[in-house]
Symmetry: D2
Subunit: 366 residues, 4 copies
């Protein structure tokens, strides 16, 4: 009952890792916006496997097809459907997993939940499902850029024990981020990150890390109290991405160490509206955007599927050694960047449409 996300801009994803393909239906999208497959493909290409030596070898072109909702290059205001066919399926790689659930993977929990699971790979828990999120996110991005000039950029800010230094976020573009396959815009750190990722790969091991995301030009007033606060929806969106373990906005966990007098963001005049001198709030106050950039961070655990042999038990509870054969990334962070951006765009798009309606009605009422 939960393959849908969003209230007014609502997406529903479908498809299994080793079935015919994966896709998404986007409902509630406005009419009249220019949209073509290329708009979507560019983000899918940043997510697809095999794009660099740092990622899995699974060779998927991940070409998107627009099945509905667009005519003559413009949206019709009806559901937009995107589909990406699976090509390079090797369910055989996964046969040993029939009897042994992979540690920290979804094999065991899916079996318990459904009393069955797809014969190969993780089915809906597979990273392949995130194709649908990236595709839908790219569609949402077109709208929020068009309607409000919103700009979303995410990057890898840590891998394992390596942290990128703090630097001016206002300058970073996706071009900067993509200068290195690691997707950390700080070149020296990126190079070092690539080094430890390759090392982990050689060892059959894996690494985690963090992604930072900044959203610029977000109008003040987005986010729906009480339960759909902007940070609540972003947290929901981020923790729904496979392998995530944490979310923080603005000052985050470190901010709990500060005093109120240090942490508060004093208001200052910025042109014709109010801004804040600092941004510990991360662009959100009381669940509603205040016009400052939204800044948040997402924690990704090290990939569960590793090449090293692991001591575990099979479904019957008998001890066994497991060594994965399926293709996998030693570190998902570089490919997760467009996923974080996509889910962010879905949240902002939904909130923007909801607030547009409120503003119109309030304007009419006055």
């Amino acid at each position: 009952m939960s393959s849908s996300f969003g209230q007014v801009l609502k997406v529903t994803t479908f498809g299994e890792s080793h079935g015919r393909g994966v896709g998404v239906v986007i409902d509630g999208y406005p009419a009249g916006i220019a949209l073509q497959e290329e708009d979507i493909q560019v983000q899918l290409d940043r997510r697809r496997p095999g794009q660099s030596h740092l990622t899995t070898d699974r060779g998927e072109a991940d070409k998107v097809a627009l099945l509905s909702g667009v005519e003559h290059g413009k949206t019709l205001g009806v559901p937009i459907t995107l589909f990406v066919a699976n090509k390079d399926q090797r369910p055989g790689d996964y046969q040993s997993l029939r009897s042994v659930p992979r540690p920290s993977h979804a094999d065991y929990t899916y079996q318990v939940k459904y009393g069955t699971r797809s014969s190969s790979g993780g089915g809906r828990a597979s990273a392949r499902e995130t194709i649908a999120r990236v595709a839908a996110g790219a569609v949402a991005e077109k709208m929020i850029r068009h309607l409000a000039g919103i700009d979303i950029v995410a990057w890898v800010s840590s891998v394992g024990l390596l942290d990128a230094p703090a630097f001016d976020r206002a300058d970073i573009s996706r071009v900067d981020v993509d200068c290195h396959a690691v997707r950390c815009p700080h070149p020296e750190t990126a190079e070092a990150m690539a080094g430890i990722i390759m090392e982990a790969k050689d060892q059959g091991n894996s690494l985690g890390g963090m992604i930072t995301c900044v959203c610029r030009n977000v109008p003040a007033g987005l986010g729906e109290p009480v339960f759909d606060k902007m940070e609540a929806l972003l947290a929901h969106a981020m923790l729904s991405i496979p392998a995530t373990k944490g979310f923080e906005i603005g000052s985050g966990f470190a901010g709990t160490r500060m005093r109120g007098s240090e942490h508060n963001d004093p208001f200052v005049r910025k042109g014709d509206h109010l801004g804040t001198a600092t941004n510990n709030s991360g662009g959100v106050q009381g669940g509603i955007t205040n016009g400052e950039p939204i800044v948040f961070k997402v924690a990704f655990k090290p990939v569960a599927t590793i090449g090293l042999e692991q001591q575990t038990v099979n479904f019957d509870g008998n001890a066994t050694m497991l060594k994965a054969r399926g293709r996998h990334d030693p570190c998902v962070l570089p490919r997760a960047v467009p996923i974080v951006e996509g889910m962010t765009a879905l949240v902002l798009g939904d909130m923007l449409l909801q607030q547009k309606m409120r503003e119109t009605v309030q304007h009419a009422v006055r």
Copy 2:
């Protein structure tokens, strides 16, 4: 459009800080469960102001009234409505705020969003709205305890720079937590925390901190892929609580520093089912509970309303000094414990009902 939370067990909260009161409607709750006002009052008493010298002086008894859904002490399967009247309103305290938005508070963003706001205090952004969450959570807790024996305990694990030492979570009960007004079950740390909170209070300043929550006896199989993963819903629920800045589950942000071989939780036989030797997953794998305790942590910023004078600007953009007069807590952590527990119960209740349906149907199909 967002005063509701949940899919099958759905709550809708209402009421302003300085109106007649706050309340909640709970829909989707099963028939036949014993429920009385006392079941709810016990958690409201842990949340109410004025319960110790560490909290605000606002003197609210916060007595709950059951307006619908229960007859002869048992639920009827129809909407349950709870209402708590406001008594000690002092909107006069807030009059200076009409022209000056409080830094890091919701005054400014509410004004931008709605073009208006309640005349006093923060309206729906007020901490008083959380009464409805605690009340609904207590109702949900009765059900999940009854149906599955689930046990939820939260406590204050840090205040400012002070961290409670790691200790065995399996033993901690709410009685342990409530031994000290700070709600940290480690007595020496609790005492030290109380000291720095009183110090901050004396200075007109405020402190943040973290709350840890553990859920025991959670059956495997709860959580709805793809978008309603257990951790996604918990993150949504926690970040919807006022003043929260972060959420992490299991190994969380620290887990990003580990390698896959260390981080993976190997399966072991535990009685007649599988368990894991470690719990870096925090009880959730692939978004679905695995039968191990759910463990997560929530970051709370220092309270925005402080007694110290702050340099800021008024709504017109002119520089001014602001000194709050409303009553406020120097540190919300002790009173936030039942709020975290309540929101957790709402998430688990919703997921439990959804999985109960799935299991029944799957059993019938086989």
Copy 3:
């Protein structure tokens, strides 16, 4: 899971017939609209029992209290809660019903569904629940009148075998409708209807009938394809009212007898926009309003609770005679008029807000 109605303008009702009272939470309502209890009371007074000799003797004043969402006479943009306390409860009247389910009433089905039911009367299936609909509808009406000048008028168009003659709908106001307690704006028919209703009352019997509703000044463009077509939502709303058995829009069932060439509504120029020469469509084409008046009809069965003795069986299946003692209306039609208007306002309000958002966004896109 279904005490809520609406998507953007969403209402949730609560309360039992013989509990503390009934109420409703309205979420998604805009800020800045003037609203006071009197606005709501006027429609509640048209629904309340005991307003004429044609209705039940249950003496309820049904005074509404605004529990949240309004300050200084204006809405705040947050949930609006309305509550009407029950006063004249006589559960004793219903004690014989514990063992014998009333024919064509909800006693049996509620028992099967929930394994329990409220000790007296029909609980949520009671007509008393419709108070919440009328109250919420009055609130919605203020908005749609304010934003678009929409005008909703319903009246009793048949009782038993007596039909009101066709007459010009464009002229009928609620004042016309209320000229007679029967709420049929055709005076002679109204008088005759009153006669047969009193006759049925004297006999301990009951009558059904039909209500016609017309909505004027509805802007073109309301209604959401595919599943939330205007007529689909109106049908849903009407058939959710207790005792309804049918719904038809425009030409309705009689229209099935016509040929396409007769039934089609040719377009004509009406001022600066298109209208239609006839209105067999009932104001809706393809699920979307076309600017012509929405006209529909609702069928109400004769009241199930009658004073005559009925041969039936008890819950154990043993034959018995049943004679109801609870107070009841011989014909619900006069009091159902504001319920039909209220549910209509909820549907139009929801659709209007959804279309306002679409128009704003489409305007911004171009």
Copy 4:
């Protein structure tokens, strides 16, 4: 925002009449149910154009493809996606419609609503969208038959002025219905209906009619008070089908003419449970099924697209004559039968899953 239908069993349809095809995503469907394309194709074949001389000539094979959710012939418990490609598109047929909105069609209202519309045919308002409903309905039917033995049969009970005589509904199967291309199970009436349909076709005119639907073996207890009463959801479902103008259940509009003493359905013992001697309720009391067959009727207007020349105005308001060229049915009734069955199955499936959950939980509580 409304291409979705259902709460727990939720379908989302997509696709335009003259785009790549139409499809549906079904979420909330249980795991472990045998499902293959043939199960769906059989109902699609009853809906497809060109199946007899009574229907449009558009030659679509309407072969369904299962894109997700099924492996090794069994459902996985994840979203099921069905897709039917469009083959025989002739947008050229519709070019004259660019400037002249077809009377009683959706051309005008779509244009007003979206400020645009698909270049040809009715886009989402096209009857082609109903393919997705029939496909999803066939999937839902497998489940409700498997879980509860529910049997749904619909048939044409009137065309124009011709009514089928009343006959015993308990005996009618889909085989009986399909004996004649008109889908009226009364042979002589069917033959006469075919005659007047062919006559209308020859004249370039069209006919309306009614479909009766009966659902047998529906367990007592389905339907969710207050707003999701069984009849409310059925009415919503039926009035969302293109060209429908009315819905009635049980005694319907005729029942408004009866007295309570005649209309009430007395309870009688039927084996080990209660039944009713008559079924004026149409199988539903208080919005909840009572175990008797659900019986309802749906009104379809004569098809709006006719071959006769019509006096109307163009989008600019200038008088013009319109003569349609697109292929169309003279009477949609025969092909609408599986659509009515499909939408009914979606409603019953959703209600059945919701009640299964309630029963399980209530059983556990006791």
